[in-house]
């Protein structure tokens, strides 16, 4: 299993009596194949009670397939899925509990609002299936609708709602019977940008308030970073890295993660153990520049590479003093992009990309100095 | 009853042989006619005699009639019987004789016995059916009205409810009277190529025509006939429809009964009775073995045989059968059967034996 993150360690240290957080969902060596094509190639991870775990990756990476397997809507080829200690799927023992009996809840990408029912009926569906009393249904549905601010639309036919409104109803429907786990399949991808941003916050607050364990699937980086407790980065059916948003952002494990999460410059070089100091390591590039960075306890591979985030590179016209990583560069391209500007600079024999806020437009050919703090030059593990 | 039969036998030799229907069966029929004298006495219902239990028949309440006639004709027969016995619900299946016989044979082979009365227009399948025991033997009290050669041999299987015969017909709109064919041989004239119609091989009357004309003129006649490329049809209604509309110029087998009907409708057609004779085929009715409504079936046979039934058969415009009942009145046109020279097969063995050749040749001529 993957190691607990530093945050977990801190939390455990802070409240020893809380002990290690309870594992709510356990995925073990899950393999899912469509005919001969493997969509998910043997992944394992755990979701803790009350946390929001996001499956993040480009399309085709297997994140939705994994989510649907947890839901019970897809049948894996091998492995095991356990929720709340109960085995939902285990290929070795031949167990596969159908989706309707797993007690989970899901919000679909297309909302799946039933057009032939009213808003009330949509939300009440799960309760009716469980044969709750009329009174209970009434109370709980109203509560759920209030939770998503859709109370006044109770008797509206569902087909007459806008996208955002349908989204909320879907959410209310998913929460109304108090499931232990909430699954989200790219719920915000059909909304426009502004609405998406607002809903993100609402969803996050809701999840915190109710303390439900959530597994969230998205391909949107911002969403994942904003909403998750931990992120699972996937590619081609494999897990690339698991960690908290800051961890993944600041300490990418390989080139793919480095460039998928935010934009990053990858600097390869030869290890210069003679220049190592203060816990930093130094790489010398083929052009002769020396870059100081951190290894974070990772073993140095034969061809080491630093990942340097574009936003951490600093451009200045005077040489900054007292910094280890300073180099002269020439600006050859500058594009204004609203909240930031993207500057391409020639650094030795190659280009580097710098992202900087509030930069005056720099004419091409201008010389400048590039600097970056060593702690922002992270050694990545083999690709 | 037996007495009057014997009377009729002696009287027969005195009557002119108007219908040339000599048959070797005739000498046997004398013995067959009263071989099984029924024990009970017949009851009179409406105006005829029957051995059937009428009350039981009405209880049985239904009547299934398989007939070769066209739709209108079959419906008329069923309706007429149903009108006389309203408590009996009639239903029928009609198909050309060949197809009809197919159907009933298939059904019986599979153990289905749903038919009460079978009416065919060809002796060949009737004799075949009799051989297989398909008919139930029933001696109707009305059988006395018929000559033995117009009953089955041995009697009781079926009887000749009528005779239909055919000659030539042509469309007066397309053909001038001088050019019209007068004899069977005239049909071979090249000017009638692709303009003639006839019936298909499942027709009883067509088989008789083939057989008789082959006897008269030999195989070469039909070989030449085939060169005329005639069109074959299932029913006489089609033949006369087309003739009336001018789709065909000449009809090589025009049933007299249909001619009468269409002439009344005002069709521009004319009938020709060739000198050499007109092929005629009997229409044969019998009670089917293991009938679902046996009393109704017997009642029907008696009805059909009686004057009442025969009058109906003769006068209904869709049927116009020539009746063989010895005391029958003339046909609605005023003519009697005796006014025509009718050709019917006499050597039944030869007749039956040539069926296969006929079917093959005729189908080949018509393209299938």
């Amino acid at each position: 299993m993957e190691p607990l993150s530093p945050e977990d360690g801190k939390r455990a240290a802070a409240a020893p009596e809380a002990a290690i957080p309870r594992t709510h969902i356990e995925i073990e060596n899950l393999e899912i194949r469509y005919g001969p094509v493997p969509a998910v190639k043997g992944i394992s991870f755990r979701v803790r009670a009350g946390e929001q775990l996001t499956l993040l990756g480009p399309s085709g990476c297997g994140k939705t397939t994994t989510l649907r397997a947890i839901a019970g809507l897809e049948r894996p080829s091998a492995g095991a899925i356990r929720i709340g200690g109960e085995t939902m799927y285990a290929s070795a023992e031949g167990i596969n509990i159908p989706a309707e009996k797993r007690g989970l809840s899901m919000v679909f990408q297309s909302y799946a609002i039933w057009p032939h029912m009213t808003v009330f009926e949509n939300v009440a569906y799960g309760l009716r299936v469980r044969r709750k009393s009329r009174h209970e249904i009434l109370t709980r549905v109203r509560e759920a609708l209030a939770l998503v601010q859709m109370a006044p639309y109770e008797n509206r036919p569902a087909s007459a709602l806008s996208g955002g409104q349908q989204q909320r109803v879907a959410l209310a429907r998913a929460c109304v019977f108090q499931p232990s786990v909430l699954l989200f399949d790219e719920p915000l991808s059909n909304l426009d940008a502004k609405l998406r941003a607002d809903m993100r916050i609402e969803l996050r607050e809701l999840q915190h308030r109710l303390g439900i364990t959530s597994v969230y699937v998205t391909h949107d980086l911002e969403e994942a970073l904003a909403m998750s407790d931990r992120i699972v980065v996937m590619r081609d059916g494999n897990i690339e890295q698991i960690g908290s948003p800051t961890e993944i952002y600041n300490l990418p494990r390989n080139a793919f993660v480095a460039d998928f999460i935010g934009s990053s410059n990858l600097i390869a070089g030869q290890l210069r153990p003679d220049l190592a100091s203060d816990g930093l390591i130094a790489l010398e590039t083929s052009a002769g520049q020396v870059v100081h960075g951190v290894a974070h306890g990772r073993a140095v591979p034969p061809e080491p590479v630093f990942s340097v985030r574009t936003v951490y590179l600093r451009l200045s016209f005077e040489r900054p003093a007292g910094l280890r990583n300073v180099w002269p560069v020439r600006v050859h391209h500058c594009v204004f992009q609203g909240d930031f500007s993207q500057v391409n600079v020639t650094w030795g024999d190659r280009d580097l990309v710098v992202r900087s806020a509030a930069l005056e437009p720099i004419p091409e050919g201008r010389d400048a100095f590039l600097s970056v703090e060593p702690r922002h030059c992270v050694l990545i593990e083999g690709s | 009853m037996p007495g009057s039969n014997r009377d009729k036998l002696t009287r027969r030799t005195l009557l002119g042989a108007s219908v040339a229907l000599a048959s070797p069966i005739a000498c046997l029929s004398a013995r067959g006619a009263y071989a099984q004298a029924p024990a009970k006495t017949p009851t009179k219902v409406l105006d005829f005699l029957t051995y059937a239990d009428v009350a039981k028949a009405e209880q049985e309440g239904a009547f299934v009639f398989y007939c070769h006639e066209n739709e209108a004709g079959t419906a008329a027969i069923a309706e007429a019987f149903g009108k006389d016995f309203p408590k009996i619900k009639t239903s029928y299946v009609r198909a050309q004789t060949g197809a009809l016989y197919n159907k009933i044979s298939t059904e019986r082979a599979a153990g289905r016995f749903d038919v009460d009365i079978l009416q065919l227009s060809d002796l060949a399948p009737a004799l075949d059916f009799q051989k297989k025991g398909g008919y139930e033997i029933y001696h109707s009290p009305e059988a006395g009205g018929y000559k033995p050669e117009h009953l089955s041999n041995p009697a009781g299987a079926f009887f000749w409810t009528g005779v239909t015969f055919g000659g030539l017909a042509y469309s007066t709109a397309k053909v001038k009277a001088e050019e019209a064919p007068k004899s069977w041989k005239d049909l071979l004239d090249p000017k009638w190529r692709n303009a003639m119609s006839c019936k298909i091989s499942s027709s009883g009357l067509q088989f008789v025509q083939w057989y008789e004309l082959r006897k008269l003129y030999g195989d070469e006649y039909w070989q030449a006939f085939a060169k005329q490329r005639p069109r074959g049809f299932d029913s006489r209604v089609q033949l006369f429809d087309r003739l009336a509309k001018g789709d065909d110029k000449v009809c090589a087998l025009a049933e007299y009964a249909a001619y009468v009907l269409y002439k009344e409708k005002g069709a521009a057609i004319e009938f020709v009775a060739p000198e050499d004779g007109l092929p005629a085929t009997p229409l044969l009715v019998g009670v089917v073995d293991k009938a679902p409504h046996p009393e109704v079936a017997k009642l029907f046979v008696d009805w059909a045989m009686s004057n009442r039934g025969q009058a109906f058969y003769q006068s209904n415009p869709h049927l116009i059968y020539g009746s063989l009942r010895t005391d029958a009145p003339p046909m609605p046109t005023g003519k009697r059967l005796s006014d025509f020279k009718l050709l019917t097969p006499t050597d039944y063995a030869d007749y039956l034996g040539s069926r296969d050749k006929f079917t093959k040749d005729w189908n080949g001529m018509l393209g299938l």
Binding site: G94, N96, E100, R130 | A72, A110, V237, K265, G266, L368
Partner: protein
């Protein structure tokens, strides 16, 4: 840890229903085919059953009848080409040009489908017979010689079939055109290509696969056609395989093994065609609800648009109005001619038709059967559609092939097998309406399943999956989510099945019994055994009854289909 393995052994209600339905479909479809094959391989005594000897003798005799095979191919090919022409031209006009009244025209284009080829065959026979046809009579009256047209020919058969099938081609090609991204054509025009060039170089190649698919399907249907060839071909000794089979079966003595062999060969060709068709359209997505809909850019054709309007209207007139009027004209005459004298008018035909017991009984039976077939069919085919496209039960792909199987078999051939198969069945259903019901359900499986699954596939899967996630078991889901959403589709299927069964000919003509007469074979029998005028009256009565039933049905269900969402 849970108790292992046993969980999978107990079949869910879903599985039971699924396998039950699949089993029923299997029996319906395969039982007659088995008997068909048995008859085709029978080289022993034709009267003995079961067959005494098996062999390939019947197939070896087939080359003698190569003319019939050739006829079938020629007529089908000609009809396909014409039907595609009608369909393509009208589809292009209605989806690509600014012809006025497009919506009405589109709805009108569906009407020829409800006019059976049988009606068309009667009417065109009355119009185009060389001597007695109305058109030719008018022609001669105007001074022409002989005949202007002769439709009692192979061309006539192809013409009638093409008029009818043209509307099917229209729907299929129209769908292809609507799914084409207009940007592709616009790109061509922006570069400067003329409209004609665009159509030839861009549009045509893009729609070609779809059109080809339509062509294959239409051709396969033409191969199995029966009624037009029966009415227009038989008189002139022009036989196609289906009419030849019918002839062979009705002859005395019947040549059943030969007919069966012909049937099997036709079936093989049709099967191949349909196999090709499925390969061609494989992989197409049917989900249209959540997808982007293309609105093709409409071309302005200026004054031409009235001409194009006329073209579309002309097609509808030719295929619907003209035949109906012809039949009406003929039905009120004693002997139908183009210029009737005053004495020729009569209502006797209608009188006879209404009072003929056979007709009344047949019509009653047909209506009853129609309701039964449609109602049972909708449930059965709904379950089958769900089984194939929504359940994850094993073997659902096989069921799909099984269900589409009857499409590859001409109705007559199928009925032939059924006649054989059910006559020996211990329960006496032969000759009753029950047998017809079973026959209809079998031959309409492809139609019903195709219609219902078309609608089913339009419903996003997630709607049902969500119900699953809310805890609803299979039966509850179907009842509360799938069925209400399917409602308009189910109603459409009901109506289609009803009409199809009342109009059915090929199967009914072989399976009717004395108490189980149905209307279309009765009309055909009437054509061959009574007058054309009486037949015309009967045909019109049948058409009217169907039209009334449709109107009633649509009125009753208008409210039901209003709320079911899309």
């Amino acid at each position: 840890m849970q108790a292992p393995a046993l969980r999978w052994q107990v079949p869910s209600g879903q599985a039971i229903a699924g396998f039950g339905v699949a089993g029923a479909a299997g029996i319906l479809v395969l039982y007659p085919i088995f008997y068909l094959m048995q008859a085709a391989l029978d080289v022993g005594d034709p009267d003995a059953r079961p067959p005494t000897a098996y062999g390939l003798g019947n197939f070896e005799a087939l080359p003698q009848y190569s003319e019939i095979m050739l006829n079938t191919l020629t007529v089908s090919l000609a009809a396909t080409v014409m039907a595609l022409l009608f369909g393509f031209v009208t589809a292009w006009i209605l989806s690509r040009t600014n012809v006025p009244g497009r919506r009405t025209l589109e709805q009108l284009m569906a009407v020829p489908y409800y006019m059976t080829p049988l009606l068309g065959a009667f009417a065109w026979s009355l119009l185009g017979a060389p001597e007695s046809g109305f058109v030719n009579q008018v022609w001669r009256a105007l001074g022409g010689e002989n005949a202007l047209i002769n439709l009692v020919t192979p061309f006539g058969i192809a013409w009638v079939m093409a008029l009818f099938e043209g509307s099917v081609a229209f729907v299929m090609i129209g769908a292809v055109m609507k799914s084409m991204d207009p940007a592709l054509e616009e790109a061509s025009q922006v570069i400067g290509a003329s409209r004609l060039r665009t159509m030839l170089r861009v549009t045509l190649p893009l729609v070609a696969p779809g059109v080809l698919g339509a062509a294959i399907l239409v051709f396969a249907e033409m191969l199995g056609s029966f009624s037009a060839a029966l009415v227009l071909g038989n008189p002139d000794r022009f036989y196609v395989v289906t009419t030849a089979m019918y002839q062979l079966v009705s002859q005395y003595p019947p040549r059943i093994p030969l007919a069966a062999a012909m049937g099997v060969s036709l079936f093989a060709v049709m099967f191949l065609m349909l196999f090709l068709y499925r390969r061609l359209i494989a992989g197409r997505s049917y989900v249209t609800i959540s997808g982007k809909a293309f609105r093709p850019r409409v071309m302005d054709v200026g004054r031409l648009r009235w001409l194009l309007f006329a073209v579309c209207v002309f097609y509808v007139l030719l295929s619907v109005a003209l035949p109906l009027m012809t039949l009406a004209f003929a039905s009120v005459q004693k002997i139908a001619v183009a210029f009737p004298a005053a004495s020729n008018w009569t209502l006797a035909n209608y009188q006879t038709a209404f009072t003929m017991n056979a007709v009344r009984a047949a019509l009653g039976n047909s209506l009853l059967l129609g309701v039964a077939t449609a109602s049972i069919g909708v449930v059965l085919m709904g379950l089958i559609s769900w089984l194939i496209y929504r359940s994850r039960l094993p073997g659902s792909g096989f069921i799909e092939y099984l269900v589409m199987f009857p499409q590859a078999v001409p109705r007559l051939v199928f009925a032939f097998g059924m006649m054989w198969a059910w006559i020996v069945f211990p329960i006496p259903i032969y000759g009753t309406l029950w047998l017809l019901l079973i026959a209809y359900l079998t031959v309409f499986l492809p139609l019903g399943v195709r219609t219902i699954s078309g609608v089913m596939l339009q419903i996003d899967k997630s709607l049902e999956e969500c119900a699953q996630m809310c805890g609803a078991p299979w039966g509850y889901r179907i009842r509360t989510v799938t069925m209400p959403l399917l409602c308009p589709g189910l109603l459409a299927a009901w109506l289609l099945l009803f009409i199809a069964s009342v109009r059915e000919l090929g199967a009914s003509i072989l399976l009717m019994g004395p108490n189980a007469k149905v209307v279309t074979p009765t009309i055909v029998e009437s054509w061959f055994a009574t007058s054309a005028e009486l037949t015309a009256a009967m045909a019109l009565i049948q058409t009217l009854v169907i039209a009334i039933a449709m109107v009633v049905f649509l009125a009753l269900t208008r409210r039901a289909s209003m709320y079911a969402g899309e």
